[in-house]
């Protein structure tokens, strides 16, 4: 067996510098990457108590990329590449890659700005151009949201930097603006008292800041009012549902009318009154059956 190997020159080949260099390079590459991952994770874990989850992720990634770059250059060095020459060509490559990866680089840089500015964090609820969802991650190239109907929305970091978005969970309390219309015959002072009473009875409605009652104007069919109440961020939806229901009940109880749109028919400057025919119960059912027969 040994003879065969020596005849084939395999043993020389296996012990040659090139093969040993390759083995060392592979070893450095594998062990180095594992080590980079372990070190970056340990650093992030150590920092987690002192910085936000987002900054810990950023630190973990930076450490991982720097260590990975070192590992790759050491591995290449082992393979016999001369790094001086590589760096020389790097300039040319950078220009080429720069053009090709313009979008990606802009996203990466935008990502750093987003993390530095901290307009939101993982777990916050955002409204980005009408898409509302929870931030599940802030990555190198994009921000990922989970919408309420459980879809994943990927928004490129550069777009996040350029666009206007709303962070719905930045502050602990939120205001709910209820648009209410009441009939013109109603006494608005009484309506105001009923609304304030409803707000006082609902324990999710904050007492301070106090509810706001705004007389918005004279609408086509109703007096337009705005009633604004404050809620704890987490109770926003529950309060919006319960208070609307309670206002309806209170209006029904006190006989306050929420009008439907009104339309006045007018057929000209000297229009005659519209003819009105009074129909009794029997006459109405007879008219209905006559109509049905005609359809059949």
């Amino acid at each position: 067996m040994g003879e065969i190997l020596s005849n084939l020159g395999l043993s020389d080949f296996l012990t040659s510098d090139r093969v040993l260099g390759l083995a060392r390079a592979v070893l450095i590459f594998v062990v180095g990457l594992v080590l980079a991952r372990v070190v970056s994770r340990a650093a992030a874990r150590g920092l987690r108590r002192r910085v936000s989850a987002q900054e810990a992720v950023l630190v973990r990634r930076l450490i991982f990329y720097v260590l990975s770059a070192l590992v790759v250059t050491s591995a290449l060095h082992q393979l016999g590449f001369r790094l001086g020459v590589l760096l020389g060509t790097a300039g040319v490559i950078t220009v080429a890659v720069g053009f090709a990866a313009q979008t990606s680089l802009s996203n990466i840089i935008s990502g750093f700005f987003l993390i530095a500015e901290r307009p939101f964090e993982v777990g916050d609820r955002l409204d980005v151009n009408g898409r509302v969802g929870f931030v599940i991650s802030i990555d190198l190239l994009s921000v990922k949201l989970r919408t309420f109907d459980n879809l994943m929305v990927r928004v490129p970091n550069a777009e996040m930097i350029n666009t206007t978005f709303v962070n719905l969970t930045r502050f602990p309390i939120r205001r709910i603006d209820l648009q209410i219309g009441v009939a013109y015959k109603e006494n608005t002072e009484r309506v105001r008292e009923i609304l304030l009473d409803v707000a006082e009875r609902n324990h999710l409605c904050l007492e301070e800041p106090p509810p706001l009652f705004i007389y918005k104007g004279y609408g086509d069919s109703a007096l337009e009012l705005q009633f604004s109440v404050w809620a704890k961020r987490d109770n926003f939806l529950e309060l919006r549902n319960t208070i609307n229901q309670e206002i309806k009940f209170a209006f029904d109880e006190h006989g306050i009318e929420i009008p439907f749109p009104h339309r006045t028919l007018y057929t000209g400057s000297v229009t005659e009154p519209f003819p009105v025919r009074v129909v009794t119960g029997d006459a109405r059912s007879a008219a209905q059956s006559e109509q049905l027969e005609r359809h059949e």
């Binding site: 502050f171 009875r201 609902n202 904050l206 301070e208 800041p209 704890k232």
Partner: protein, 267 residues
């Protein structure tokens, strides 16, 4: 059935397949001991001027679709339960009936009636299975603006200068706050934030619940007030501590929690 109680709190025994009923102001509580399980049912209203009190009355187990039953598995044949009052889990904000002016170097004592939470412990365990408000107060916000501040509970009854003006209810505790104005200017007191999760509960021999007394010293405008907690309730010779604070006090408690103690009434 009842082993010890001056008020409604204490230890009780529930026989197998028996239901006991408690009426604590607006809240009704039913506890049933079944084979392998406890069934705890509560129904509450929001009426804060409800003085009804019924302790461990044998009753039928409540039924109906709107009844919310909490079932707790329990293999042991243990039949003991414990009911305990505890202070709210958030600070409370109380208003004075009218704005109160405390002149320089003057002192005023305000009495506040604080609504309580009910805790139920089963099988002699230390961890409660129920922690619910007896009369749920409204939420409120205490802070200089809508961005910075703290979520609190708003008290319906205002702080009084005379203890006799306070409603005595079995499900509420009395808290005394001494306000001392050591600043050269007049102090206007309209609303007070009281961090009740840091306070303990005491029971008097007459079955009235109290917290330890609190002294707030207003030193200078725009400076945090100095705060001191007494180790027992004011005006109470014999009292027994029946519940500890929900939150232990940290070193920075006095300056942090009372950074803002006095507030202005919302306009």
């Amino acid at each position: 059935m009842t082993t010890s109680t001056d008020g409604w709190w204490g230890d009780y025994e529930v026989a197998a397949n028996q239901t006991l009923r408690w009426q604590l102001g607006p809240t009704t509580l039913w506890i049933t001991r079944r084979d392998q399980e406890w069934r705890i049912t509560s129904a509450g209203g929001r009426d804060v001027i409800d003085n009804r009190l019924a302790i461990a009355e044998p009753a039928e187990e409540p039924a109906g679709d709107d009844i919310n039953v909490r079932r707790v598995a329990s293999r042991s044949g243990n039949r003991s339960i414990r009911l305990g009052p505890v202070l709210p889990d958030l600070p409370v904000v109380v208003k004075t009936t009218q704005p109160l002016f405390v002149p320089a170097m003057e002192e005023a004592t305000l009495f506040v009636s604080v609504p309580l939470w009910l805790r139920v412990y089963l099988d002699g365990r230390d961890r409660e299975v129920v922690d619910t408000p007896i009369a749920r107060p409204s939420d409120t916000w205490f802070g200089p603006d809508t961005m910075t501040g703290e979520l609190c509970y708003a008290l319906r009854t205002s702080a009084r200068l005379h203890i006799g003006d306070l409603p005595r209810q079995p499900h509420r505790a009395i808290l005394a706050v001494r306000i001392r104005n050591s600043a050269p200017s007049v102090l206007l007191v309209e609303t007070l934030k009281i961090p009740v999760p840091h306070l303990s509960l005491f029971a008097s021999d007459k079955g009235q619940l109290w917290t330890e007394a609190l002294t707030v010293e207003h030193v200078k405008k725009a400076e945090a007030s100095h705060v001191k907690l007494d180790d027992k309730p004011m005006q109470l010779a014999a009292s027994q501590r029946i519940a500890g604070p929900r939150k232990e006090m940290s070193k920075g408690f006095l300056s942090d929690a009372f950074g803002r103690f006095f507030g202005r009434r919302g306009k």
